[in-house]
């Protein structure tokens, strides 16, 4: 299960988080949408942090076949 959680596309999630931050900076007045995006941002941040804390680098040799 922990592995599943780490199976995120880091670049994509990071980009989404940045996009949410700029949405907030642009100052849309929609509070409902704001709550939704805030929740999504927290979820993304959690996943990104988990990946940076727990994921492992995988090194494998590609043999000449």
């Amino acid at each position: 299960m922990a592995k599943k959680k780490l199976d995120i596309d880091f670049a994509k999630s990071f980009k989404e988080l940045e996009d949410i931050a700029s949405w907030f900076e642009e100052g849309e007045p929609d509070l409902d949408e704001g709550m939704k995006r805030y929740e999504r941002a927290s979820e993304l941040a959690k996943g990104l942090k988990a990946k940076l804390d727990e994921a492992e680098n995988r090194i494998k040799e590609i043999k000449n076949s």
Partner: protein, 371 residues
Amino acid sequence: MQVLTVTQFVTYVNDTFKAIWDPTLVALEGEVSEFRVSQGQWVNFNVKDADALVSVFMVLGKLNLPLADGMRVRLYGFPRIYPKYGKFSFSADRVELVGEGALQKALAMLRAKLEAEGLFDPSRKRTLVRFPQRIALVASRESAAYGDFIRIVEERWRGIEIDLYHAVVQGEKAPDSVVGCIERAQKNGPYDAIVITRGGGSLEELMAFNDERVVRAVYASKFPVLAAIGHERDITLVEEAADVRGSTPTDAARRLVPDRRDVLYEIATLEQGIGESLLQKIEAGREIIERATDGAERWLETFRQRVASLLRLVSSFNPDAILKRGFAIVRDSQGNILSTIAKLKPGMQVAINLRDGEAGAMIEGNQGRLI
């Protein structure tokens, strides 16, 4: 006495040379003169020293470095007589440059040639993605460069997949080996980057990374190439053709992946900014509600005033109020209001309502004659 035909003689001599000359044990070294390429496929030149000269023949395809007159070379191959013209020459399979001077000169020539072709053009260089997920690493698994690169990546980042393509990075077999790795990586991709790295060495030791075939393979790569060969001061042609250059293997690792501590900080900053923005929105929302409430109260006050004046208006229609102002209501004996003189007849009994009560009365005369 044995008599040989010319053909037999040439064959005999050539066989003898082959038998006694082992190119893995003996090489011919001298200075190049009269270098030329004919018909785009044959290479002819002389090698000489102070007292002697030998002509050299070679197939262009086997010449993997640029030659020029005055370069000192070491040749591997066989001495032989060319049967058709009886010309004695050294048939070379491989050429090595000897001495730093020759290497430098060859390198300068190749650099000029490839530069003219646009292989080092800065405008075609691709940037690396910020968070690579899967990369190909072309290096020798036994090298310090490999160890350094992996150590720094491990220190800085998590969750990257590295496919190692083990390469021979020095000597005669190195160019083919490195080209093979780059080509296999093209097939096994996609990769966010191909990293090619090797530690420091002499110019001769780094020569595989100045090999034309290797440079062209880097140039042709579908995926961005990050190359770090040797030390800071050594710039090989592979690095010039690569999209990004690292000065050392360690530097290559730093250029490939960001430091996770920096990124964690960035994530925290973004998250905090978003939280603060949301709070501001909530504050702004509350103000809007408060403003709306104020407005409602003002509206309610106006409404109340309007209602009050309406009430005054309505009350002015109340008959009691009219009576208070001195008017009277006259009804017949059935209680019907008599609002016109036409309904009055002499001798008729009527009731008169005034402010404070009712009185009976009798009509005495008609209109005009009353009173």
